[in-house]
Symmetry: C2
Subunit: 177 residues, 2 copies
Amino acid sequence: MCNKRSNNAFPTPGHNHKQCLNDAIDKARKVFSLRKLRLTPLREQIYRQILTSHDAIGAYDILDRMRRQGREIAPITAYRILDLLHDMGLIHRLELQNAYYACYRDHEDDKNFIALICRGCGTIAELVDRKVSRVFEALEKEAGFTEEKRVLEVQGLCRSCRDSRKGGNSEKEPLNA
Amino acid sequence: MCNKRSNNAFPTPGHNHKQCLNDAIDKARKVFSLRKLRLTPLREQIYRQILTSHDAIGAYDILDRMRRQGREIAPITAYRILDLLHDMGLIHRLELQNAYYACYRDHEDDKNFIALICRGCGTIAELVDRKVSRVFEALEKEAGFTEEKRVLEVQGLCRSCRDSRKGGNSEKEPLNA
DNA sequence: GGATAATTGTTACATTATTACATTAGTTAT
DNA sequence: ATAACTAATGTAATAATGTAACAATTATCC
């Protein structure tokens, strides 16, 4: 997931985002430091797996990639680190896919985002809009509901996938597995 | 899930909703009929399991309940019927819980709802609001995104759980399992 | 009654996630 | 520097959720 694209937009498919990695790792180091925890080599390696994928990837995808890089870890180890990265706001989880992707925004205190998931290319875009937050707050207040966690996910086709394939699905299997 | 409560509200906890069952089954029979499919005894039994629970229940919960009622079925059988009921709009799926609950609204063509999930009592309330739909449509149009599926779920505490327990969790385990 | 589609069964397996406990590595205080 | 402490990872087993492939049965329609 790249932080060099404009806000609220899908990045150009296939673009090179190696340049974003160092920034993200630096930021992560700071966040860990603030919580007096360590960005260990293992944690960094897993975070990099997620950073270098535009798609969201699942816990067992991470195990596979680690193995290919010569390190075998147990599921629980991946989940522990994923939970930690998630708690720190460095990654987000897609409930629709049981998968994780890197959050490229600075959203310290803000969990008001919508995840747009393209089933064509797998890319995730996050939208942030105060109107959405306000409407949710108003509705919940009216219902007497105290919010603790919010999941806003939309699956569909991004512009380039729609244009290039008219809704077809030739390049890649569907993502709702 | 009971259809005798006012719209957009949590029902009184512990209320009796047996009275709603027949209406729901009648409606289901009509929906099946329209699609030239049958509401078989098995399908009806599973639908009743869901109708008679305010909580969302998982596929394997249904297997358990069926077994207690003397009928052993395989997971795939439950999933097939759940998918069918879901396609027909009779039940909804909570991605946050991998579980299903009965939809008590008449929402033929409308998938614009927000599920409020109380982690105290497990009750699900659905909110419907055109403002939300409009904002989503506008944002997606701007992003060039073609929506196919939308998940809007909020987990938290309903009024009575908040009032009676101040956020505590003594009566029941959390629902995010 | 035979063809056809709908429904359920059977078996096996794939995927996702957690529990419990042991071990190792880093940090702190003396 | 080492004992005591916390953070981090390992190990092993298993729970929970979901699907594939194909067979058998049941209803419907001509």
